[in-house]
Symmetry: C2
Subunit: 498 residues, 2 copies
């Protein structure tokens, strides 16, 4: 049964609601998202009290969000509040007002819970097995260390982009003295966390500061994939950008492509935090997560009594996508089997690793999804759909590789130019050879009837592929031979399919 | 019940098979297409006999096509042959061989049937009410005059691109004398068809020659829509290209972007035929059809005992597309109702015609289809899906207008640059105003629960939109006011929604 859940997250700066449709443990899809810049923490004084005007703004927005849920078939509403409410001295009175006037009883997350749900959102949508997750918010920062996808250690510190800006950024561009004080304050927060030093491994990053850095990086590089989730950024790039921000006034920063106006002031302190943690932890890159706290809470509901970790997010994501476009399961499974069998038997000729093998399998499952758009050019439509879908668990290089394999499963000579910016050296060869195998597998399944059951590959001066069939394979052998040009070019040898 | 039909068309040059999945009278989708350059008419001599080698090639291909159908769930196979077989003196013997060796009994179409099915394919996929359909093949050319979508008159002549090239194109580039002879031969075929002269109206065109002209035209103009069906070409452009071909050798023509090598020779004679008919008929433009004979035969099966004309192909095509992406029917219908109501009440301010109104309605039905790809940027994905779908009955300008409306139903300032090449002067204003209305209608349906039932528009110095509701509309009024910026800009006046 399809269910619909709304998760509302009342933060220091923005408040957001996501609505997700789902069938527990099977499939989910974002249905709606609303955000409003409530700026709840605005003007908090020495007494730690939320102010009247921001509170009224928050209550009005919560009322609207609640109404939005009521009219649109939402079964469950989960409203949570983070540091701004958690630390307010008038928190109880505020929460009572929200309940009385907007009809929503907010759950106030502890710092540890905030870190946990951020971790859960990232770990279920990015391929991080061993490493860390950092979440830089307006009021606080959490770092969580992950071993075999489980939490190993976690720290939450009351420093965030808004809070530090308010306290330390008093000159524009920032004076050397102020900058030193800012960096010192950040360092002081982490100096007593010995396990952070030299932690290494994959680092996943959550929050507005980190998303903004990714957007700037993408604009500077003419990045080919229009979304931040799954984007990878080298540590040097983060340090470079931090240096850039230090030298500019807020006004000048507003001119940086990809940086929104309302973050031009906060980005300096936010990237100072990230710079400290990345240097300290010796992380080589950061993998950006567009999913965090709200999604983490969602996954708890989605997985129900089970562990909230989706076991294999890449396979899950591929299946989810394939189903949306009514893929032909039996045909796709056979193409995968044939392609992977070719991959294994041709191992001496290509030498690719297990990740390449896994990607080839995923591409085989997804190769025909573009048919939903149009039979003509369905290879191109499939690549478009793939690149624009929430491919959880894949970084952008991997998304590009999958898109290229889908693109070239039929028609045309391989060119990786469109995605050159996110590829590694040698990926052109990887794509050419894997596309050649996928194309042959596809044409050996020309009638989608599994008549070619297995293949046996003989490697000599040339390659000979012997089909083991459950019937007449004249069509398949004829068409596979027509489609073998890519193979000849990629492997530099003749091939014969019999 | 989903059915699957294969239609095989054995022509003079190419033989093609399409496989279509369909539910009679409801929905259909191209599933597969195969083509093979059999060149059946190759080497036919004075005795009018098909030659042994081409016949063997054809039989081999037919056997493969037949096998392809058997393995892939096709219920019905309809094999038809056109002029090459029709006019062959050894036709009976050939057909018997095909039946014995490939298991297919071909139906040989008469010239009139060939014209009729081409007409049916075009008329069910292009918006031609009154006008003509021309089909230029390798061996013959058909012109059909259409009144209220029905056949009024039809002529078939044994001149085609292949036949005329064989007979008249004896110099390269063509000598003036040869060219004169070619043109004279064509004119002689139509001089006795008085109704062709000054016929006028919309002209739809079928066949490889015409598709090739469209592809050349698109490449020359950086055309934004990657398909020929629905492409419109001015008569002057056709004449210009014909002149261009006359001045070039076949080798030189091979360098023309968009022209495939195997048509570089035939395109001269083919465009000579089209030039004659367009000049004679005083047609101002030609609308290219990617659908012809095979699709015509399909539509007869699709509509079963009913008239083979799909009543409203535009509405049919829009519904078909919306269903593929699981659109929310009730929500979309309400958005359409509100948008069209706004359109009508704001008529004094925009003055747009009934076609604009119709397009706004179609865009409203399709506005959310991009959600199938990703909630984020679903307006952009929707535009992509629309542009790449077989939008039957719309020319490329209309496809672009629909795509722009879907694109701007949420987020961003209107820019029509992407499609500038296919738009008319003034279309930027048309899109800006219609997108503004669609966006308001969408936000008045913010919760997709039809709470806003009607709107009443008051036009004074500014515009005031009064909602008539079946409940609390705080959410809708709040969000519609947030989304009214586009309206203010497009109409140059204030708007208040209450």
């Amino acid at each position: 049964m399809q269910q619909r859940i709304a998760i509302i997250d009342l933060g220091s700066n923005t408040t957001r609601m996501i609505v997700v449709g789902y069938i527990p443990q099977q499939t989910y899809k974002l249905i709606d998202e609303v955000r409003e810049a409530v700026r709840l923490a605005h003007g908090i004084g020495r007494d730690g009290k939320l102010q009247e005007i921001p509170m009224n703004r928050a209550i009005k927005t919560m009322r609207l969000f609640h109404q939005m849920c009521r009219g649109s078939g939402v079964d469950t509403i989960v409203p949570v509040a983070t540091s701004a409410v958690r630390e307010a001295t008038n928190r109880a009175a505020f929460l009572d007002r929200v309940e009385a006037e907007a009809g929503l009883r907010f759950r106030v997350l502890t710092a540890a819970e905030e870190a946990y749900y951020g971790y859960l959102g990232a770990i279920n949508t990015l391929n991080v097995r061993n490493g860390s997750v950092i979440d830089i918010g307006g009021g606080s920062t959490q770092v969580t260390v992950v071993r075999q996808r489980a939490v190993e250690a976690s720290v939450s510190r009351p420093i965030g982009a808004v809070r530090l800006t308010d306290r330390y950024v008093k000159s524009d561009p920032i004076a050397n003295k102020d900058c030193k004080a800012l960096e010192k304050a950040i360092a002081a927060q982490f100096d007593d966390v010995p396990w952070l030093t030299g932690q290494g491994g994959e680092l996943a990053g959550i929050g507005g500061t980190i998303r903004a850095l990714a957007e700037i990086d993408q604009k500077l590089r003419h990045h080919p994939i229009d979304r931040v989730h799954g984007h990878a950024m080298a540590a040097e790039r983060v340090y470079e950008l931090y240096e850039l921000f230090k030298g500019l006034t807020v006004k000048q920063r507003e001119g940086i492509p990809g940086l929104s106006k309302d973050r031009a002031d906060l980005i300096l302190a936010g990237s100072a935090i990230l710079t400290d943690v990345m240097r300290r932890g010796k992380y080589k890159r950061i993998l950006i997560s567009g999913q965090g706290l709200r999604e983490g809470i969602f996954f708890e509901h989605f997985m129900q009594q089970h562990s909230p970790l989706i076991p294999d997010i890449r396979a899950f994501s591929v299946q989810n996508l394939a189903r949306i476009y009514n893929y032909e399961a039996t045909h796709s499974a056979k193409v995968r089997e044939l392609a992977v069998s070719m991959f294994d038997q041709l191992q001496p000729l290509h030498g690719f690793d297990a990740t390449a093998r896994e990607l080839l399998g995923h591409a085989a499952i997804l190769h025909d999804i573009g048919n939903a758009v149009n039979y003509y050019d369905h290879h191109k439509h499939g690549a478009y759909l793939l690149v624009n879908s929430p491919m959880q668990g894949f970084d952008h290089r991997e998304v590009a590789l999958l898109a290229l394999l889908v693109r070239y499963h039929r028609k045309g000579e391989v060119s990786v130019d469109t995605y050159a910016d996110v590829l590694n050296p040698g990926d052109d060869v990887l794509v050419a050879k894997m596309a050649a195998m996928l194309r042959l597998a596809e044409f050996l399944e020309r009638r989608k009837n599994q008549v070619v059951q297995h293949i046996h590959v003989e490697i000599g001066k040339n390659v000979r592929m012997v089909t083991q069939a459950a019937g007449d394979t004249a069509v398949e052998v004829w068409d596979a031979n027509r489609a073998a040009g890519l193979f000849r070019k990629a492997f530099g040898c003749e091939i014969e399919i019999v």
